[in-house]
Amino acid sequence: MTIEFSLSKRQIEMRDNVRMLATGVIRPQSLAWDRAGGVPEEFLRNLARLATSMGSSAMRSGLGEEGGKEKKKSSDSMQSNLGTVLATEELSWADGALLLSLPGPGLGGPPVRATGTPEQKERFFGIFKDQDAPLRWGAYALTEPAAGSDVAGIRTSCRKEGREWVLNGRKCYITNGARASWNVVFATIDPSLGRAGHRAFVVEKGTKGFGVGRIEDKMGLRASETAELVFEDCRVPEENLLGGEEKYASKEGFMTAMKTFDNTRPIVASMAIGIGRAAYDYACDFVKRHYVMSRPIPRYAAMAERLARVGRGLDAARTVTWRAAWLADNGHANAKEASMSKALGGQAAIRACIEAIEICGAEGAIAEDHQLLEKWFRDIKVYDIFEGTGQIQRIVISKRLISNLKSF
């Protein structure tokens, strides 16, 4: 081993393929999807086929591989965390909402993979295997109207009745929650037990008592579906309790929810970095055209400084993100680094989008001329909110640095 940052031949090939797709096929549609509030299924189907032929897990399932295999992967492979992070940045550069809309288990994949029994993995991942079947999604439903950051405070209740569990409550802001074939839903047997009372269920579409509430109208990522889920005496068969009863003897229940994040946070970080880089690239082009070619003296230096700081911030986040992914690929604990990547990525990218609009001046904010810039500005904010806000990342990080710190 040696410290090294050049991509391998395979990685370069993969990245270039994804880049071609990103510039040639995805980016040209990006604005239309934003306006229409969704990506056409036909496009998603074609993309899924292409992704399979290219072997890119980032594109196949949105967030990680859908198979149940746990084997350690070489960082060179595209299925590795590093490979996924590299491809994710490229795709997100083209369109952020597309990545969240890709068919596959999505955010629901990691908990099923980490906690599901072999039969559950077979059942819930099995539905994604058939390429000719209608498109399918999985989703992850944790957030509730009264419990977002404070995950331990969820109120959706579950009680056992015979061979079924009965769920009651509401989930909100669930990505792909309405169209998902199944949602991983977190509920509690008794709120006073805190984390020890949590249970995770796979709730399938069409289950009696499970309904979809409103579909959110959002600032950005408008082509991604965000849904409210309603559970009214929703009856879930006991086989759908993730991992089976014995999994919940200790605090494991809550840990199930959290384990997911160590792998997904660097991916979400690279999504943010991709959008930030899109804005940065755009601003660089603008400055080249308007200031380098004609060189009005005092303003060039000011623009150059702004660009340098934006590029630098994105690169700092990228470096930390690569490291978090590399740690995971090599079997090292990475909870702290995963949170660092997410906190840095979100902020650096927001900064990039804000600065890019300012650099392009009045034109930047006028949707007609710089529609993409305006869209990225709207899309990026949520990356410092979902998958744990910037503040929550700092809690995760500081707990690993300060002795005996429980919570705030």
């Binding site: 410290i3 230096a301 623009m303 400084e305 660009l307 986040a317 590399w326 702290k336 840095l344 809690i395």
Partner: protein
């Protein structure tokens, strides 16, 4: 392949420097500061560790281990004491200057005295007190007469000026060409007409030494001119970028030192009945500085690895892709300004979270805070680095004006 794992050899070297930093430098950090120098016994141990010539190619008398190994070791030294890297005997920046700007024979000859195991210093003199108003470029002039060059002018802020036995002096060779008309010359301390001004009192990095040079009709032969291969300007910019990257590695070590001391303190110090680290404002500050340390270190590694990849011959590189010089410059510029600013934040928050105690010399954080500011002003400043990074990104010509003296002259050029 992306990997964050050092080689076994690098790990062993890092461990031995870390040990030296922990057992010698850190416990004696105030002693070095008061002495405004590194005591002889410490010099001797450090020489045996051989940090100074790590990155110097084997062909010219160095260890040939590359810039990446150098930044790994520099970080560890600076973790012990940020001033150490500047104050330990060795060629210092002169090694980089002669390897980038000189021929192989010139570099070998200039570095030969540094390989004999005695503590000697080298220095590079580029800075000047005042930027010229009438034209771009340096006020120190080099005039040629046959095979002899005559140097006249004043240099300022020269690191280790009063200790060096030999200097690389930057001077204006062709005044009509501004920053594209510079030359570099090897000048021995004994040269007639060369006087070294008394060292300055500084904000931080007291064990290092900063001073000025006056050159009055100093004569050096043509053989002492470092011509920079076929592109002097590009070589000069490379020298500045690499040198500053080494300084940035010291900033990473400083950040880590301030961070570790502060993290321990917030566990220990209580207010309102609990450790101060249990207040969110304090804990989040710790988290932010931890991110600074990790990001700065990774960026310095990346830039150093990029240079090593660029400097490899085709045969050594094998399958790996070629790294272009602009990319190295951009990565370096980003890493340099980020690492220095991160160090300043770590020093500042270090003192802040120590409260009144932080302001007292009983604790090391106040020194680290002063050192951080001083370090930030050695080599490329943040303002230079930003202009260099943007120029590399935008395809603007890379020119020594981007790395040399002042913002005004840069603007005049641009």
């Amino acid at each position: 392949m992306i990997s964050f794992e050092p080689t076994e050899d690098q790990r062993l070297m890092v461990d031995s420097i870390a040990q030296f930093a922990k057992t010698t430098l850190r416990p004696r950090i105030r002693e070095l500061e008061k002495a405004r120098a590194v005591p002889d016994d410490v010099q001797k141990t450090a020489l045996e560790l051989g940090v100074g010539l790590v990155a110097v190619p084997e062909a010219v008398g160095g260890a040939g281990l590359g810039l990446l190994t150098a930044v790994l070791l520099e970080e560890e030294l600076a973790f012990g004491d940020p001033a150490a890297g500047f104050a330990l005997a060795g060629p210092g920046s002169l090694a980089l200057a002669v390897t980038e700007l000189g021929t192989e024979a010139q570099a070998r000859e200039a570095l030969a005295p540094f390989t004999d195991g005695t503590p000697r210093f080298g220095a590079v003199a580029w800075g000047e007190k005042k930027a010229l108003a009438e034209r771009a470029g340096l006020s120190t002039i080099a005039k040629r007469d046959g095979d002899t060059w005559t140097l006249d002018g004043e240099k300022a802020y020269v690191l280790n000026a009063d200790r060096a036995e030999v200097f690389v002096v930057l001077a204006q060779v062709d005044p009509s060409k501004g920053f594209r008309g510079l030359g570099a010359f090897l000048v021995p301390k004994a040269a007639k007409g060369l006087t070294v001004a008394p060292r300055s009192t500084t904000l931080g990095l007291d064990a290092a030494s900063f001073g000025g040079l006056t050159l009055e009709g100093v004569k050096v032969p043509e053989a002492s001119r470092l011509a920079g291969g076929d592109d002097f300007d590009a070589a000069l910019v490379r020298f500045f970028a690499k040198q500053s990257l080494v300084f940035a590695a010291r900033s990473v070590g400083l950040s880590r030192a301030a961070f570790e001391l502060t993290r321990a303190y917030v566990d220990e110090r209580k207010s309102f009945g609990k450790p101060i680290g249990h207040f969110q404002a304090v804990a989040f500050t710790i988290a932010d500085r931890a991110m600074d340390v990790d990001a700065a270190r990774g960026m310095v590694w990346r830039a150093a690895a990029a240079w090593d990849a660029r400097d490899k011959s085709d045969a050594e590189r094998g399958d790996a892709p070629r790294v272009d010089e602009r990319e190295c410059l951009r990565q370096s510029a980003w890493a340099i300004s980020f690492a220095h600013e991160a160090a300043m934040r770590c020093g500042d928050d270090g003192v802040q979270l120590h409260g009144g105690a932080g302001f007292m010399r009983d604790y090391a954080v106040e020194k680290l805070m002063r050192d951080a500011k001083q370090l930030q002003l050695c080599g490329l400043t943040a303002e230079h680095a930003d202009q260099l990074a943007a120029a590399a990104e935008l395809g603007v010509p890379i020119d020594p004006a981007l790395v040399l003296p002042t913002a005004e002259t840069q603007n005049a050029f641009i």
